[in-house]
């Protein structure tokens, strides 16, 4: 059998996958094994597939994904730490026909920005929230996050998170699911091909909800921070499946067909 030339393989008709045109060629600053790159790719693909690049404004946080605007070629507003939901609220209210999403980590969303996320969700702001939960502060060097598991060591709880000292890990997704303003609340992951597919489907659904004026769509992605966790990427994924998933179970918590106002009226009648 004659040897195949690489040029014979790389042909238009053989292509099954390509990089989203919305992903820039900038080299990502994320560590190898980090979940951010995968979720960035999914967000870019969803925006491109929906053809909404010209109507989309992203709000990036403070944390590892502070430079999200360097990687996805859309308009971005870089918010102060925790304030992305407030920034997104104004963008959406002033330009109601645009697609607006925040992309936040656990320190940003669940700690310093706890008030902003709860109130944006409670007002039923017509935005998408993508919440990356890797249970640690990555950018500042691996300190304890509100979502750090009990017993899990970090730079500021080196002997493991101690309930008597640090309180309990915060389940933001369960919290916002209680609010009548949210219409779609789900917890996903992105460590395997099937998980990535499910995660992308959830992101797509959340973006499609914005057209329907149904309220806030909230996607938590349980993620790894192998550098912060001091593990290699494979070990980090195993650790996440073994320890994070039991405490942060995957799946949809809420998926309403109706708008928050309709849901609320139904609840009051009952």
């Amino acid at each position: 059998m004659a040897e195949l030339d690489i040029k014979d393989i790389i042909r238009e008709e053989n292509l099954v996958y390509k990089k989203s045109t919305l992903l820039t060629d900038n080299v990502m600053h994320y560590c190898p094994g980090c979940t951010h790159g995968v979720v960035h790719k999914l967000v870019a693909e969803v925006i491109e597939e929906m053809g909404i690049q010209e109507q989309t404004v992203g709000v990036s946080p403070v944390g590892c994904s502070v430079f999200a605007y360097n990687y996805i070629d859309i308009d971005w507003s870089e918010a102060a730490h925790g304030r992305a939901p407030a920034v997104a609220t104004a963008i959406k209210r002033l330009m109601p026909d645009k697609y607006v999403f925040t992309y936040q980590g656990d320190g940003d969303l669940a700690s310093i920005g706890a008030a902003e996320i709860l109130h944006a969700c409670n007002r039923g702001e017509d935005i998408v929230v993508i919440f990356i939960n890797n249970a640690i502060y990555g950018m500042t060097g691996g300190q304890m996050a509100p979502t750090t598991l009990v017993g899990m060591p970090t730079a500021t709880c080196p002997y493991g998170r101690d309930i008597s000292l640090n309180g309990y890990p915060l389940k933001m997704t369960e919290l916002v699911a209680q609010l009548p303003g949210t219409c779609f609340v789900t917890r996903q992951s992105a460590q395997s091909a099937s998980a990535v597919r499910k995660c992308k489907k959830a992101i797509r659904k959340a973006f499609e909800n914005q057209n329907k004026k149904k309220g806030t769509s909230f996607i938590e992605v349980v993620a790894t921070c192998n550098s912060g966790w001091k593990m290699n990427p494979v070990k980090a994924n195993e650790w996440m499946e073994k320890h994070m998933f039991p405490f942060y179970p995957l799946g949809d918590l809420k998926d309403c067909e109706k708008s928050p106002a309709e849901e609320y009226n139904k609840y009051m009648e009952e």
Binding site: Q53, E54, Q55, T56, V57, V59, V66, F67, Y69, D73, I74, D75, W76, S77, E78, A79, A80, R83, A86, V87, A88, T89, A90, I91, R93, L94, M95, K98, A115, E116, H119
Partner: protein, 360 residues
Amino acid sequence: MGELRLMKGNEVIAEAAIRAGADGYFGYPITPQSEIMETLMARKPWEETGMVVLQAESEVASINMVYGGAGCGKKVMTSSSSPGVSLMMEGVSYIAGAELPCLVVNIVRGGPGLGTIQPSQADYFQAVKGGGHGDYRLIVLAPNSVQEMNDHVALGFDLAFKYRNPAMILSDGVIGQMMEKVELSDFKPRLTEKEIIEKYGDWATTGKPGTRNQNVITSLELQSEIMEKRNQHLLKKYESMQQDVMYEEIMTEDAEYLFVAFGSSSRICQKAIEIAREKGIKVGLFRPITLYPFPTKQLKERGQKMKGILSVEMNAGQMIEDVKLAVECKVPVEWFGRFGGIIPSPQEIVDALEQKIIGG
């Protein structure tokens, strides 16, 4: 002649915002300025002009909503009073860093801390010298009448957009709460997305069309060499604001002594001038209307001809530092003020002039 009304200073801010074609107001209740949002909510401008009015969960959220809205090229504002404005300082610094236009109204009350709900001018330093972190400046307007509360809303927006910089109206509980005759501005329509681009440039986050590069609103720059250039650019911009300096002089032509006062203090000084002149003391008033840019050159010119200057402020002596710098300490400058929510009487001011300057 525009529409004449008898109105509270706070109510006028709301009315003037609608008439200036503002796109959005985001605020949180605090005394003594809650009438601003109350007036807007009662007026329902979203039915009239499409203006968004939203009660936020905190001042922190309010100012960050302003950040988001201003980043879309919209004419957005917030209002608060001293403790609330302190909470906004982080956001104000980000807005200045990202070079966004917006209007912040501070109806000042006495501090520090929770202080009092009575009027004060104790936030001069915060407004003029910083307040938030980093090297930045606000455009600061100091109205001294309900009429100027009206005028400074449109002016504040104009200057904010001219320099792509946050502007602040530094007023106080006296002007916010008092009623006066006011000639309201005519209605200006809100700008469309296209008009905003034509008028102010194509920098806002309105969604990236294929015809331009992405727009990013940020104050972040990790490379020191580039950050220093950004700082230099800001510095140059702040210096250029001198061309928009505003001030007023009353009875200064023949004056031997000078009151320097802004806002409600300057109104009391006008009465003090009458009392002093009846006694044969030739005193005039120099009133900075823009506290930043401060009318340094103009005050130097007038002030250095004086025998003495009294800086009259409803605080523990803040603007006096800028007055001394302006006249390069070549003339005696003293401070007189009441604080904690106390408003000085005209007689007290005349007494202070006699004791601290003339007799001193």
